[in-house]
């Protein structure tokens, strides 16, 4: 695998001189005549939460799917911890965790069994049931729901299992696609706290979202996409809530 490594894998201690954990270089994806993503350059370092904002069809989910290797770029490349996703699709996926908008689980299995399964596939190895239970509870799932079949779970509970799956993987990068969509405010808040804990551990987060408030609260940087292009990028330290909303709307009305 060494031939596909283009740089050293980062760690939390590299925060001072961040090496990109997630990187897109001149990334484009075209479907027929439609440009879903065009010339995207993006870098997310350790302990960074990068929020991709934009309307539906802006290219956010396509970007996430390109990082996951579900789609092949028309041009450019994507890298996870220095690994070219096209050259090392499986290895790169093992280094990241993913939470989709709707976490879908196996209905006939319990939350614990789902976590055990995904954790085993993610390369974490066999974790003890007690440890898995702690992860689920830590992700906000009530302890008495851990052994229940997922068919009895609400969307919020499934989302928490999805978070637990991401935590258990102990990946250096986390890809989130509208993860708080449909969650109630409390669950959404708990989710933000979890993100912050992961960030503190050095995890690089790339989150596609419509939620300007959550992006400003949790994100360290924000990128605005429109028609497949990254039209603006800023640090959340530099702007207030109102500024972000204004800038976003300005881009949407261009």
């Amino acid at each position: 695998m060494s031939e596909v490594l283009t740089m050293d894998a980062p760690s939390a201690s590299d925060a001072a001189a961040p090496v990109p954990v997630l990187e897109a270089r001149g990334l484009s994806k075209r479907y027929g005549d439609t440009e879903a993503v065009t010339g995207l350059d993006l870098r997310v370092g350790p302990s960074e939460i990068y929020c991709l904002l934009g309307p539906n069809g802006a290219g956010k989910t396509t970007t996430i799917h390109l990082f996951l290797g579900f789609l092949e770029p028309t041009a450019g490349s994507v890298h996870v911890m220095g690994l070219d996703v096209a050259a090392a699709p499986l290895e790169s996926k093992r280094r990241l965790a993913y939470i989709p908008e709707q976490v879908m689980l196996y209905r006939n299995l319990s939350g614990l069994e789902n976590l055990e399964y995904f954790a085993a596939l993610g390369g974490t190895g066999s974790l003890a049931p007690e440890r898995l239970t702690d992860i689920l509870v830590g992700a906000g799932l009530p302890r008495d729901a851990v052994g229940q079949r997922v068919s009895e779970y609400s969307k919020g509970m499934r989302q928490k299992v999805g978070i637990a799956i991401a935590i258990a993987k102990e990946a250096g990068a986390l890809l989130l696609d509208e993860p708080t969509s449909g969650l109630d405010p409390q669950a959404s808040n708990e989710f933000s706290e979890l993100l912050e804990r992961l960030r503190d551990r050095g995890v690089a987060v790339l989150m596609a979202t419509h939620d300007l408030f959550r992006a400003k609260e949790s994100g360290t940087r924000v990128g605005i996409m429109r028609h497949g292009r990254l039209v603006n990028e800023m640090s959340t330290d530099e702007i207030g809530h109102a500024d972000l909303e204004r800038i976003y709307l300005e881009h949407m009305h261009e």
Binding site: F70, M104, Y106, N108, L121
Partner: protein, 469 residues
Amino acid sequence: MIKHIARKEFTDVVRDGRFRWCAALVGALLLVSLGHGWVQARQAQEELAAAQATARDHWESQGEKNPHSAAHYGIYAFKPRLALSFVDEGVDPYTGTSVWLEAHRQNEFLMRPAQDATAAQRVGALTAAQVLQNLVPLLIILLTFGVLAGEREQGTLRQLLATGIGRRELAVGKALGVAGALMLLLVPAAVVGAAALVVGSTGPAASPLARGTVLAGVYLAYFAAFVGLGLAVSAWARSARTALVVLVGVWVVNGLVAPRAAVDLSKWIHPTPSAVEFAHTLEQEMAAGVEGIERPDRAAFSEGLLAEYGVERAEDLPVNEVGLYLQESEEFGNRIFDRNYGALWDTFERQGLVHEALAVAAPLLAVRTLSMGLAGTDVEQHRHFATAAETYRRDMMRQMNLDLAENSRTGELYLAGPELWADVPPLQYDAPTLGWVLGNRLLSLLVLGAWLAGAVLLAAKRVRLAEVA
């Protein structure tokens, strides 16, 4: 990794109420059909053995009579049932299992019209073979149609592949999980089948355990091909519903359309005469002979015999002219029988080859041929027995005719006794070996192997190309 996927798939399937109901139903049908088949086969074998003993007893106790009268009295020969016939009764119900062996005639029980329509008529009765050939594949379809298409629809496939597992591992794991669930009903059936073979085998020794092992291998290959096909279609289809419709279509073609079409097509390519036509031709040729097989002329035969022994009257011959002429007539008849029955059997054989070749369109055709072959109930093994019985009849007739010729003079009243009847050995039939069966069924073995390899390759390709969302 594969172990985790297989275990999860197994758990998921086994907890699915739909699978439990279907598997319980198919499993119960399989066990009942095995048990019922075994009881029937055992009963039939006992009846055959008793009938054979009775027939022999009648033969030996027929009292004093002319050997030619005894030849007309004849004896019944009964085709023994092989141990595995309880799994697949094959063509036996349509060809019959007994034949009356008598002078001048090769009796026609082999040519029953039902033999021409075995495929259609066999649909009616539920045997273990039919459960294995039709219902288990249907269960496999129910297990596999959603394994990838369903995951894609539900969104779990995206999450699954995001973990970094390879698609080949995913396919193998899922196939093993499905196979594990299937084993819940196949293993008990195999145990019952093996126990029935070991405990209750009443048929002649013909390597029942070796045949049973190969039979199990054939069915496992068939099921594995269906698992591969199910995976391939599930990976290819846009939705689980589409995958189900396509797979059920495959099942209908494989299980219902292809067998009927194969019978019709093979008969169309290699037509056989009707039973009436066949009997009429045989009667005509026996009466007048055909080119190359002349009916012996009694007067010419007598003249030849008198010249050979240098006497002028038949009464002066040291042998009974009637016995020798009867044997001469018998041999003429044998040549006519060989010509007509040989042609008919050869046509059946060519029809069988067409049938086997058509298995490239439906694996059931290959499996059915192999299943009947290994169970000892196919047309070829019926021919094997019929040939043995006919050889026995000819030997017996020769013994009767020569006894008459050698122990009496022309015009004398001659009666033979129990010593002669007892001197005729009972029919000893050795069923074909496993090697003989497999040698005859190489084409089916190859086609089944090709189906398995093709299904695996197709599944590997479709899973590799499967869209994530």
